[in-house]
């Protein structure tokens, strides 16, 4: 089974990288860009067929290690 995990900085927390990229896009003429948020994309292959168990385990991985829930949100999708 494959898990795709997205980790993003919480909406109320400043994302200096996103702000810098927004500035670059503006200076290139992409004036329509309102806001840029940069996050992480992780692909995990899991040695299991049990979807319910995988969901529970990936959630635990996110809570414990993959995201710092003080400043980050996470979401994930399971495939296969």
């Amino acid at each position: 089974m494959k898990a795709t995990v997205y980790v993003t900085i919480k909406q109320n927390v400043l994302d200096p990288q996103g702000t810098a990229v927004q500035g670059a896009l503006h200076s290139m003429g992409f004036a329509e860009v309102d806001k840029v948020r940069i996050g992480k994309y992780l692909e995990l292959t899991l040695d299991t067929d049990d979807r319910a168990e995988a969901e529970q385990r990936v959630r635990a991985m996110c809570e414990k290690l993959l995201a710092n829930t003080v400043v980050e949100d996470y979401s994930f999708e399971l495939e296969g």
Partner: protein
């Protein structure tokens, strides 16, 4: 008094911390590898700066699960002195020993220069040789020192006098919330700070204002163990 300097793969201020203890207060100090499982023989634990585990994923995220960290938590719970400097501060927040998190610097740059700090709380075991409100000069060297916590946590930090150092003279180098440079836990025996006192122990290094952090720790330990104890 016995000090441990924790060494993770990627630590790079461990030698500075070790030498600072030796040269400022001449106490016993050991390097302790991240795989160690017993810190019971130590009175103070220094978690040094660097790039533990390459800072992969997030600064301190992987180091926080090193075997030695459960011992650091135990030492903190036992009331021993735990000081996290720079990457050490990041590790202590990831481990939940200190509230909040350290984000990328506001201007995305790695900053490496002397920084004036206000001693906001001179009553901790780490700062008792300073005066409240005193401004000292300690170097910073970090890319991710932008302290963040939610409003509720900030109010709690203020109410409990847990803000130990703030960037002074209106010079907030990294965008840190409330100009915070260092904080302690509620009990006051765990401190985390982004600036490097171990790099400010001799005028040749540009400042010796960091010395008193080490003399403070020894002083606090002696007070705890009776003034007659000399080592």
């Amino acid at each position: 008094m016995k000090f441990a300097v924790i060494v993770f793969p990627g630590s790079n201020c461990d030698i500075d911390c070790f030498k600072a203890v030796e040269e400022t207060i001449g106490q016993s100090v050991d390097y302790v590898w991240h795989t160690a499982t017993d810190l019971s023989g130590y009175d103070a634990i220094l978690v040094p700066g660097g790039f533990s585990y390459g800072d992969y994923l997030r600064c301190g995220a992987i180091a926080r699960f090193a075997p030695v960290m459960s011992e650091v938590v135990k030492a903190a719970e036992a009331g021993k002195f735990v000081l996290g400097i720079c990457n050490g501060f990041q590790i202590l927040t990831e481990a939940g020993l200190l509230p909040g998190a350290l984000l990328r610097n506001r201007d995305l740059k790695f900053l490496c220069h002397q920084s004036p700090l206000e001693v906001v709380n001179a009553a901790t075991p780490f700062t008792n040789q300073y005066t409240q409100g005193e401004v000292i000069s300690i170097p910073i060297a970090h890319g991710e020192g932008n302290y963040y916590c939610d409003d509720e946590t900030l109010e709690r930090l203020k109410a409990n006098n847990q803000i130990v150092f703030r960037y002074a003279n209106d010079e907030n180098p990294n965008g840190s919330l409330h100009d915070i440079a260092g904080i302690c836990n509620e009990r006051g025996n765990v401190v985390g700070m982004m600036p490097h006192p171990e790099r400010a122990v001799d005028q040749l290094l540009g400042s010796e204002d960091g010395k008193r952090m080490f003399t403070s720790i020894l002083n606090a330990w002696r007070e705890q163990h009776g003034a007659a104890v000399n080592s």
